[in-house]
């Protein structure tokens, strides 16, 4: 029961935080000048119509006072889920439709990268921990140190240059279109997937190695060995399960972060996803998009926070979140 109450409390607080952030964001954006772009009269009329629907503008073209705009925003956008037209980037298309169209690309690329990164990272980390202070460990640790330090876009450039330009294994940019599960699409996504995965692999390997070495030196493992278990048995049954307690939540974060993606990698490989859309919405001053995508990233951050805390309880039943001391 207390877990349920804890979840409820966390969700309520998250909703509050979301509301505050998005309100500030909305107010800051709406005090900026936002003229109807100079396009065809037909399109302009449609935009005015939509702005009236959103409650940002009166039918005669005058601006609604800011606080009333805000009230309308809460009513029509947050509750009514009308995010308005994209006025600069995609004329006459609803932001939310464009967003839904772009989301699968981001999710796919990031999901592939997680599927690659989590097992590889864990395996490397476990191997390094078992071979602690041998040359294998030093090799992995050095590689991990370099990978963690070097910014992800640097090895994205390296991959693009060597694998795409020099060796021509992959096309340079990700294919557009909606055939998500064809071989061509997968092949064109691979460079982006690898660039994304390298950083995560290094992160997981480092984390796993640190946790596992700590567990491997503990007394209960010595006890397990003296009981007569083999080294493999102690590692898998005792050490790994305990080491997973802090690792598992970070895997859960990864699963949520799949939605968010990486702005920089997506823009390097021209993945037609959410990340480049966000950057373009800022440079093109497409405010409806900006508010929608800011809301999206905020939600991802909040949900990830809750999921991480809850996943401690899933992996280790001894941890009861929210319980009193």
């Amino acid at each position: 029961m207390s877990t349920f109450k804890y979840i409820l409390k966390r969700v309520a607080f998250a909703v509050l935080v979301f509301f505050i952030i998005i309100s500030v964001c909305f107010l800051l954006v709406r005090i900026l000048p936002n003229e109807i772009p100079n396009v065809l009269l037909k399109d302009q009329q449609l935009m005015i119509q939509e702005r009236v629907k959103q409650g940002l503008m009166y039918p005669d073209g005058t601006k609604v006072p800011l606080m009333i705009q805000y009230w309308n925003f809460v009513k029509k956008t947050l509750i009514g889920f009308n995010w308005g037209l994209s006025e600069q980037l995609y004329q006459n298309r609803f932001c939310f439709d464009v967003f839904l169209e772009k989301l699968p690309n981001t999710v796919l690329v990031n999901a592939y990268s997680s599927l690659l990164a989590v097992p590889t990272g864990l395996a490397l980390g476990i191997y390094a921990a078992l071979k602690k202070n041998k040359w294998q460990d030093h090799l992995i640790s050095t590689g991990v140190m370099v990978m963690v330090s070097v910014p992800s876009y640097i090895y994205a450039f390296l991959i693009q240059y060597f694998l795409c330009f020099k060796l021509k294994w992959f096309p340079q940019l990700v294919e557009s279109g909606t055939d998500y599960f064809t071989w061509e699409m997968f092949r064109s996504q691979l460079p982006a997937v690898i660039s994304l995965a390298l950083g995560s692999i290094a992160g997981y390997a480092r984390f796993t190695r640190a946790e596992l070495t700590e567990v491997l030196t503990s007394d209960y493992l010595l006890l397990a060995r003296t009981k007569g278990l083999t080294r493999a048995q102690t590692t898998v049954r005792h050490a790994l399960r305990n080491a997973m307690v802090p690792i598992f939540p970070s895997i859960m974060t990864e699963v949520i972060a799949v939605l968010g993606g990486s702005l920089i990698i997506e823009s390097i490989f021209a993945v037609p996803g959410v990340g480049p859309l966000y950057v373009r919405s800022i440079t093109a001053r497409d405010y409806n998009f900006f508010i929608l995508l800011s809301a999206f990233y905020t939600v991802i951050g909040l949900v990830a926070g809750i999921v991480v805390d809850l996943s401690y309880g899933i992996i280790d039943p001894r941890i009861r979140m929210g319980s009193k001391k």
């Binding site: 607080f13 330009f165 920089i264 926070g305």
Partner: protein
């Protein structure tokens, strides 16, 4: 019964100290006492990789500080001197490698070119006598039946010619310089005065491909009116110079426009020779030039200077702010702490990209992109530091020495910053070093994505350089190589250095995270 106060007088010499023969004293220290920092420093020096990292950081910082001061190559002049736009995408050239004759870092590159391109290079070679094509490796027919050449091309010479419009004084000055140095800068004008491609001095079709005569030679297209015959010598020796003495007011080396008082001379100049005339030394860029003709060596140093300075500023402000806020939270606790913590809960959930872009949208026009980016970094950057300091205060504020100090009448401020705060000094120094690579990374990401635009002739950042160079990744990888190399080296060494510091200041944490 003996009365207690009726003790007979005992002589003093009867008294004796108990155990006097082996009296115990604190022994004086044989060794020199080590201060906290000395101890940490000694421990740090034992970590070889961290010391190496510290040296590399020092070198990179020195590069960022001193190169813009001492190397005034084209970067400093770029504001006033637009001729730099003529020297774009030159490859890195190290003079040492050229003198040693290495095929590496010499400003040349191997490429496969079409026959038309090959002819264009050959024409430049014929007119200037400079080895544009250093070596022809192979000649083969492509699948479409056209000839291809595998060649090694000198990018500085292949840069070709440009049309410059000079005044009479400048024109004379160049002529004078040519005679003194024996290097030809200005090449004969061609018939077509409106031609835009200065490379073409020969008969060519509309696309610029050379039309050769039947022996395979170029047919020149020089403006040969007036007295001909002296075109047999293209070199500067024996050249009459500015005006043809036989027929005055006829210029063979320039297309002249304007009145006789203010004439302008449109000349074909060979860029590599013109560089030497203009700047007094041969064109040679250690890191090459960008697509805008900026020298990467100095431009990168400026970018690095900005990135480092910015990161240090952000780290200093955030640590101070975080330390003060964390101290207040931790020391006073209770309601203050609770309210602050909830505030931090909300603030820390705002995505950094959203903060950065909102600040850009609002403030960039008023206070400039750098200051608004600084605000974005400060808004949420202090939270981590505040958390660390708060923990330290919770740990130490109940200890006896703090109580003693309070009893002696010390003020809250004094207790906070004289007695409790120094305990967390090691942590602060460590995190200040570990904050810097993070800031540099975020800053370069923001500028790379173009959310913050820092590209101007006076200032740049590493991220902006990378963003400008990414379009040339396949054709001119050297433009992206040096900024990328710099930032990778900086990030790796800062992380190593920071880890070394952490181990030195908190030996108990050694190896916890690496």
């Amino acid at each position: 019964m003996m009365k207690q106060n009726n003790i007979p007088k005992i002589p003093a010499e009867k008294f004796q100290f108990v155990g006097d023969e082996g009296r115990l004293h604190d022994q004086k220290m044989d060794t020199k006492q080590l201060s906290y920092f000395r101890d940490a420093f000694n421990r740090f020096c034992k970590n070889k990789s961290s010391v190496t990292a510290a040296i590399i950081i020092l070198l990179l910082v020195m590069y960022a500080v001193f190169v813009p001061i001492f190397c005034t190559t084209n970067y400093a002049a770029a504001l006033t001197d637009t001729t730099y736009l003529q020297y774009t995408k030159l490859l890195p050239r190290n003079k040492l490698c050229v003198t040693l004759g290495w095929d590496f870092w010499d400003g040349c590159s191997d490429m496969t070119i079409s026959e038309d391109q090959y002819n264009a290079y050959r024409a430049t070679m014929q007119e200037t006598g400079e080895p544009v094509i250093k070596e022809v490796y192979n000649q083969f027919a492509n699948s479409d039946g056209k000839l291809r050449y595998d060649v090694r091309v000198d990018s500085y010479l292949a840069n070709g010619y440009a049309y410059l419009t000079l005044t009479a004084d400048e024109y004379k000055d160049i002529q004078q310089w040519q005679l003194e140095n024996g290097i030809q800068v200005i090449y004969p004008a061609v018939t077509d005065g409106a031609a835009t491609n200065a490379d073409i001095w020969y008969a060519a079709n509309r696309k610029g491909a050379a039309k050769l005569d039947k022996d395979g030679n170029f047919v020149h297209d020089y403006k040969t009116f007036g007295n001909d015959g002296d075109y047999n010598s293209l070199r500067v020796e024996g050249d009459p110079g500015i005006e043809d003495p036989e027929s005055p007011k006829r210029f063979r080396y320039a297309n002249v426009a304007g009145t006789s008082e203010a004439m302008s001379f449109k000349c074909r100049v060979f860029k590599n020779a013109y560089f030497q005339y203009r700047y007094g030394h041969e064109a040679s860029f250690l890191f090459g030039t960008t697509n805008m003709g900026q020298d990467i060596l100095t431009r990168l140093a400026n970018a690095a200077r900005f990135s480092l300075l910015f990161a240090v500023c952000v780290a200093a402000i955030n640590l101070t702010l975080g330390a003060v806020i964390g101290a207040i939270e931790g020391y006073y606790g209770g309601m203050v702490d609770m309210l602050m913590e909830r505030f931090i809960d909300i603030l820390s959930r705002v995505p950094f990209m959203v903060v950065a872009s909102l600040f850009q949208l609002h403030l960039a026009a008023k206070v400039g992109p750098v200051v608004s980016m600084l605000f974005a970094f400060i808004l949420t950057g202090w939270i981590g530091m505040a958390g660390t300091t708060r923990m330290q205060f919770y740990r130490y504020k109940g200890q006896e020495y703090v109580l003693a100090s309070r009893v002696l009448g010390a003020s809250d401020w004094r207790i906070m910053f004289r007695h409790i705060f120094p305990n967390s000094l090691g942590t602060i120094i460590t995190s200040s070093v570990l904050v810097i690579p993070g800031v540099i990374f975020s800053e370069s990401s923001l500028t790379y994505l173009g959310i913050v635009n820092l590209d101007s002739s006076a200032m740049t950042s590493v991220g902006t350089m990378l963003a400008n160079a990414k379009g040339f990744l396949s054709t001119y990888p050297h433009i992206i190589l040096f900024p990328a190399l710099f930032i990778s080296l900086l990030e790796i060494s800062f992380n190593l250095f920071g880890n070394g510091l952490r181990d030195a200041f908190n030996p108990s944490l050694r190896g916890a995270e690496d």
